[in-house]
């Protein structure tokens, strides 16, 4: 069957695959025919993801990408790949005046330094096949807009989106494309953790700001990533794609 969006024959490394967006990306990529290598911090949950993958020949490698040592081990483990999907990330809502060095450090390390250094080492070790594709789960926050208390999260995602443009330019000569997906609120554990601060009632209020009348789900992001990882987007590089149910229209 004719399908330019297929990932058949492609090997894709997916980070943050033990939960949330990364988990869905891994599962959906496998359903689209890809061989996936999944990584995440939580080994038990990574195994749960692994069991849900369609097809065979997948592999898993538990790693905490906030440490360059783990990044080195992951890259060493990694065979030649066609795609890299960066999803590992954390969020914390803190007003500017209550930012601490620890919170800033951990958010920037996990959300920006990890994916940047992983990309660096994969490129350095020539792990990408020709026509490779790199996708970052950035955010609406820090690139298109921001909410109260999100300044350091926004900073980390702005860093990722800026890096992606630079990498897109430099890696174009090797045929490697680099793009970002920029979701608004997606119903994952990150969102539920914030949910302790933002109530159900406030969430219902938030939905009113979405012309498409719902919050995001993980497949909304995974399917956009599949587009970027597939040959359907062969002439697209360096873009930020908002995935927001129309949120930024109003």
């Amino acid at each position: 069957m004719y399908n330019p969006y297929s990932l058949k024959g492609k090997t894709i490394l997916v980070t943050g695959a033990s939960s949330g967006i990364g988990q869905t990306v891994a599962i959906e990529c496998s359903k689209m025919g890809a061989t996936v290598i999944i990584t995440g911090r939580n080994e038990a949950r990574l195994n749960e993801t692994f069991e849900q993958l369609a097809g065979t020949d997948h592999s898993l490698f538990p790693a905490d990408l906030s440490s360059y040592e783990y990044i080195k081990r992951l890259v060493e483990f990694c065979p030649k790949i066609d795609g890299l999907s960066n999803n590992a990330g954390i969020a914390k809502i803190i007003p500017v005046k209550y930012i601490t060095e620890d919170d800033l450090g951990s958010i920037i390390t996990t959300n920006a330094m990890g994916p940047i250094l992983l990309t660096q080492l994969l490129v350095r070790k020539k792990k990408f096949n020709n026509n490779g594709s790199i996708v970052f789960t950035s955010s609406l926050s820090g690139v298109y807009c921001v909410h109260y208390g999100e300044s350091i999260y926004a900073a980390s995602k702005g860093a990722v989106s800026g890096f992606a443009k630079g990498a897109a330019l430099e890696l174009a000569s090797q045929g490697i494309r680099v793009n970002c997906v920029n979701p608004s609120i997606i119903q994952t554990n990150i969102f539920k953790n914030e949910g302790e601060i933002i109530s159900e009632e406030q969430m219902q209020e938030k939905i009113k700001n979405y012309p498409l009348r719902r919050l995001g789900i993980t497949t909304d992001v995974a399917w956009a990533q599949i587009f970027f990882l597939s040959d359907a987007s062969t002439w697209i590089t360096g873009v930020n794609l908002p995935i927001d149910g129309g949120y930024t229209l109003i």
């Binding site: 007003p95 209550y98 109260y148 601060i197 109530s199």
Partner: protein, 75 residues
């Protein structure tokens, strides 16, 4: 932290409302300056100074600063 200290710390999260407007009986949601950012700041202040985790729902469920203080202390 005493109730008086809590009222003072609460007041410090506001930039425009004068400190003398705050008492234990102040209904904080009725203050002009009240909003999302101040609410987040109160949550962070309680986290930093009292090491207790307030939620948005807690803040909405209380009326006066004293109500909130009692809720925090009981946590």
């Amino acid at each position: 932290m005493t109730i008086d200290e809590f009222v003072q710390a609460f007041a410090e999260e506001f930039d425009e409302t004068p400190a003398e407007k705050f008492t234990a009986e102040t209904v904080y949601k009725e203050l002009d300056e009240w909003g999302s950012l101040v609410a987040l700041s109160i949550i962070s202040m309680v986290d930093e100074q009292l090491e207790k985790r307030l939620t948005g729902a807690d803040i909405r469920s209380c009326n006066t600063i004293k109500d909130l203080y009692e809720l925090v202390i009981a946590k």
